[in-house]
């Protein structure tokens, strides 16, 4: 774990807490975004976390960065922070220097590569509308590559996800690859785990806020002459949410630490898979606790529940990991108990 972790997280939390209000998040629905927050993050060099100081970065490691992703989720910050920093971090894994210009990524499905030209369509690319570069997956024959392309000349069909975050369909028709690096299946697995760790982190952040909003509301809202948290049926919702939130926070912390230590097992896959259940359970219970006010646009709750609903179907989904895990289990000579205990122990040492 990096020493700067706490300090960096504090700065980011302070910025987001004060600068990202309900109205700030609403900007996305008016085709705007929180450029001032983005500027503040840049001024504080936060886009350079997990970039070494020799390379002009701010130091820290992936664990620090993932913790910041948790905060982005917790405050629903409408900035392309995760997209830009993770795109550059992916490039770093294959020894390519990151870009200053706003960069995004999409590595779930491959483009076709013919010599240096890219063909194909990428769907639901985050923040492509504002980004200048994209890190993508491409294929030539049976060889996979990580490529970088300019978005300037790409054909974009802009849309949004369920939470009004910018998502675009990007069409590549004979577009030049600025960079192309061949990768192995093993490298691809590592990159997909990084992307998933980012999703898990932001989802856990949003989930935490949904839970906290519900606790707060249950204390403030009075019915039948007392705060609603005094009712046992409401208490049951709160208890269930507390369980899900704690379970996911412990799992997410584990994933972050293991990646920070340079170890990668199946933890991230398990966490992502379980996160689907947790998102559903917490979002459902939170809306039930908030009742009518929670389904209005005026209340903040939807800014987080909509994100959970959107994020669970993006990138490497629970469905994807369920398939990967099943495949591994099918091929494994170990039984379940051996593989669960090996998992923990093979990748972990005190």
């Amino acid at each position: 774990m990096s020493e700067i972790k706490e300090m960096v997280a504090e700065v980011v939390e302070k910025v987001l807490k004060h600068k990202v209000e309900k109205e700030t998040v609403d900007l996305l629905e008016e085709n705007l975004w929180a450029e001032n927050v983005w500027q503040l993050l840049l001024e504080n060099e936060l886009h350079n976390v997990a970039v070494s100081e020799e390379e002009g970065g701010a130091g820290g490691d992936i664990e620090d960065l993932l913790e910041l992703y948790g905060l982005i989720g917790k405050y629903a910050a409408p900035v392309p922070f995760i997209e830009h920093t993770l795109a550059n971090y992916l490039l770093k894994q294959i020894d390519i220097k990151g870009y200053e210009q706003l960069t995004t990524y999409s590595i779930t499905a491959p483009l076709q590569l013919k010599e240096d030209a890219l063909f194909g369509t990428l769907k639901h690319v985050p923040w492509a509308k504002y980004a200048e570069k994209i890190v993508a997956l491409a294929q030539e024959g049976s060889q996979q590559f990580i490529v970088v392309a300019d978005l300037e000349n790409a054909v974009l069909k802009n849309g949004t996800n369920l939470a009004a975050e910018p998502r675009s369909e990007v069409v590549f028709e004979n577009m030049k690859a600025l960079q192309k690096v061949p990768i192995t299946a093993k490298q691809y697995m590592s990159l997909s785990k990084l992307v998933t760790a980012a999703s898990v982190s932001k989802m856990n952040g949003a989930l935490t806020t949904v839970f906290q909003l519900s606790v707060q509301f249950s204390k403030e809202r009075e019915q039948f002459g007392r705060p609603i948290h005094r009712f046992q049926l409401v208490q049951q919702h709160l208890a269930n949410m507390a369980g899900e939130q704690t379970l996911m926070t412990v799992a997410t912390n584990n994933v972050q630490t293991l990646l920070g230590d340079g170890q990668e097992g199946l933890e991230v896959a398990y966490t992502r898979l379980r996160m689907d259940d947790a998102s559903r359970a917490v979002a459902t219970a939170a809306h039930q606790v908030h009742a009518a006010i929670g389904v209005t646009h005026e209340h903040r709750l939807h800014q987080f529940t909509r994100r959970l609903w959107a994020w669970r179907d993006e990138e490497f989904t629970a469905r994807y990991w369920k398939q990967q895990l099943a495949k591994q289990m099918l091929e494994s000579k170990m039984d379940l108990w051996e593989s669960i205990t090996e998992q923990n122990e093979a990748h972990v040492h005190a």
Binding site: V215, H229, Q236, G243, T249, A269, T271
Partner: protein
Amino acid sequence: MNLPKVQFTEEQKQFRQEVRSFLKQHIEKGTFETRCDSWLSGSNPDFSKIVAEQGWIGMTWPKQYGGKERSTLDRYILTEEFLAFGAPVAAHWFADRQTGPLLLRFGTEYQKEFFLPKIIKGECFFAIGLSEPNSGSDLASVTTRAEKVEGGWIVNGAKTWSSNAQDSHYMVTLIRTEPLGEKKHEGLSQFIIDLKGEGVTITPIRYLTGEPHFNDVFFDNVFVPDEMVVGTLGNGWKQGLAELAFERSGPERILSTFPLLNEAIEQLKKKRDYAGLEEAMKLVAELWSLRNLSIGVAKVLEEGGEVNIPAALVKSIGTKFEQKIPEIVRLLLDVYPDLQSEKEIERYLAESILHAPGFTIRGGTSEVLYGILAKGVIAQ
């Protein structure tokens, strides 16, 4: 809620292998048969004796009492392996899990010297006496009472749902030692009662399968000497709460039906049922997350931290998971639940279905736990 991240060492990994091969040998020899929910329903004093010979009862306790001073995480590993292989460890379970820690924390020197070495040798089993015919979830309303006499106390009353009391030597019993006042949590004390003593009657309550499992225990003018009072008179409620953290957070709240899940996955692999495995992976993911949580609590317990809330949390979600396993497995495989079947999976499924309703009741009903959790969350 933040819990520490736990990493197992190389030595711990080896210890796990040691326990595992011990259990496999005994299954092969026919010492025991794997069963679901065996930690509570599999009382086998002979097997407990064998476990004791390994030095695996009271393994974390001080050497001066015969313990091994091993870490809580070593014990966690041991427990997990017992559960994964469905070993019949119920006879010594309570003494190892909570009576020992209770005595180490609150017991007198005499009590520690008298009981701990016997527990460690697998010669002394404890039952827990909390619930009464008229106090279940409202535990503090106990009416079993003691009156002071020369050199000790005279106890009258009854305890119920006491698991494995039929095989136990003593019972840690929650008793009212002062008349019921304004606050019902006050005036309660913990006594160690000799279950073979005069005035004690144990009558079995058969589990819904007909098996012996829990008991009614009646006290008719039972004399309990002063030296069998645990900790401070009148402090029984608080002492009991400390015990509950051990009782609620362990792997036995996650793994009671694990043998079924393990076997189901083996069968799906054999059939190369890819779709079935995908569904099963959801359970594995849940198991993995729950296990992290429970190990985190074990670590906090080792460091003497406050874990009442997270322990309640482990129990409330963990037991729901244990109940879910048979319900999913029966949709994934063509398997008929049969306690007498020659096929392991059919037995495991039958055991899991029949024992499942108890998971969310014993050790505190889920409803009581939800109350504790909600109050904890609101107080934060």
